[in-house]
Symmetry: C2
Amino acid sequence: MMNINEHLLRTFEARPGEFLSGEELSATLQVSRTAIWKHIERLRQEGYEFEAVSRKGYRLVAKPDKLDVEAVLGRLHTRVLGRSIHYMNEVDSTNNVARELVQQGAQEGTLVVAEQQLAGRGRLGRKWHSPKGKGLWMTLILKPRIPLHFTPQLTLLVAVALCRSLRQITSLPIGIKWPNDLLIDGKKISGILLESSAEEENLNYVVAGVGIGVNLLPDDYPDDELRAKATSLAIEAGHTMDRSEILVAFLQELESLYDIYHEQGFGPIKLLWEALSVSLNRPVTCQTPKGLAEGTSLGIDESGALIVKLQDGTVTKWYSGDIQFSS
Amino acid sequence: MMNINEHLLRTFEARPGEFLSGEELSATLQVSRTAIWKHIERLRQEGYEFEAVSRKGYRLVAKPDKLDVEAVLGRLHTRVLGRSIHYMNEVDSTNNVARELVQQGAQEGTLVVAEQQLAGRGRLGRKWHSPKGKGLWMTLILKPRIPLHFTPQLTLLVAVALCRSLRQITSLPIGIKWPNDLLIDGKKISGILLESSAEEENLNYVVAGVGIGVNLLPDDYPDDELRAKATSLAIEAGHTMDRSEILVAFLQELESLYDIYHEQGFGPIKLLWEALSVSLNRPVTCQTPKGLAEGTSLGIDESGALIVKLQDGTVTKWYSGDIQFSS
């Protein structure tokens, strides 16, 4: 059964551009005019915009950009990934919700996607800005059949799938910065945060958090600092994009690479990562436990570590951290 | 302030072997005779045994073996490990309690130890039999400063520390079966279960569960199957042992190896593990994802995997599983 909000929306949508009087709406929906007014206010809080003119009534002028989950499920041709979608308006962090779901027995491929994250997290304990309706803020539950020490390979796999699907849809020159940030012209458009849980050498599960800045405009960033470092697909392409199309493309690409990974191992993924990377064969610096290190990035190893030739000629590996490109 | 149970126990302990009348106890503790009777019943439920003779009163004949936490803290010379001890009478699993504590912000070195586990868990989803007062059923919270993919080294480190401390105290011929079971003459006296949580390549925490069969006697095993596979220090040594002494020795040995590991890496730990292992240079079989495999164990690698020469001459690695010795 439709609730009154939905019924009200359908009524407006059936007569686009028209003013509907409180009297007429009250008669159609069989509720009082005061109730109509309350529901219009509620819809306004959800992002719907109404014009109200006395004696004429209300007119729907704008709808919030809500992810169309029905459309996603209708177009999606995956076997496992995204077959179950938990769509939420607002969460603290989709990774937290996914971790709770997995404790309750959620299956592999379960997707949590939210219009807004109030406490979205990025790598290295950083905040992740996730404004309402402007991006894809989501987490996938994965239960890969690999030993624990291969887990870092997964984070590279997710970055490759995301980079390939976004390039395909947008044709933008997107590259991967080690280990898993996606950049356009040095500005970040997406980040990945994998959290894993293991018992001895057996991986129990991974929650793979992915944030994509899809339709943010310059005003959607809270300050100049973030505006200088981050960008969105809409800013780069010059027009807004359909988030459901991006989600479908990403899930399909990820499932296909995930299957290849289980069948053939890390080899093909490593090749793709290196081909899409903007981090290789150039001078880089990194804050390591031993202080600031400087060198030239040569490649990645089987554990996803960055192989770096330091200035004194020795070759070392960086396992985690935030690299900067020096020139 | 002492509660009535404690007061009652002190009164009995002050006059060992004597009968104390309900009347006298009632006068001493300033409570009714009915209250005395109720408290004696409560103590009986905790494992204290009283002889009751009409007209003479009650006599304390046996006390349950409770771990003396005060004695542990008094003797312990560690810097971090076991400085905070959560002692519990009964838990589902000490690993579960430790995981909850770490979520609430518990520090590295926090120890959970229980007299009894109702749902103790072992490797590969197995049950772990943890009867009341008969063993050390415990979990340590560790926050090692190592990348995620080194986690399997920790499980070997814990096995080495446990093996060395038990050998030192008992002089029994205890060996390590890959990866981390402790055996005497092929029978298991202890098991280890590490659970880890990571964010990307950074280990958040490890809960290291350790079960040691200290004072179990043959009747303490639920069935012949377990009796045939498991043993205890008391059975092997021919006398019961002080659990607090074993706990202190283990924590001190573990802290000292843990410090060496952080300073010098896995090298020294690997040497010790190999020296204490009963798994090397002998025919072994293992149920692997590809079926039952047979070969000769050659050593372990940096990731804790067992290096095995298969019957066809190829050398492979087993990352997890349960090896059997063939002959």
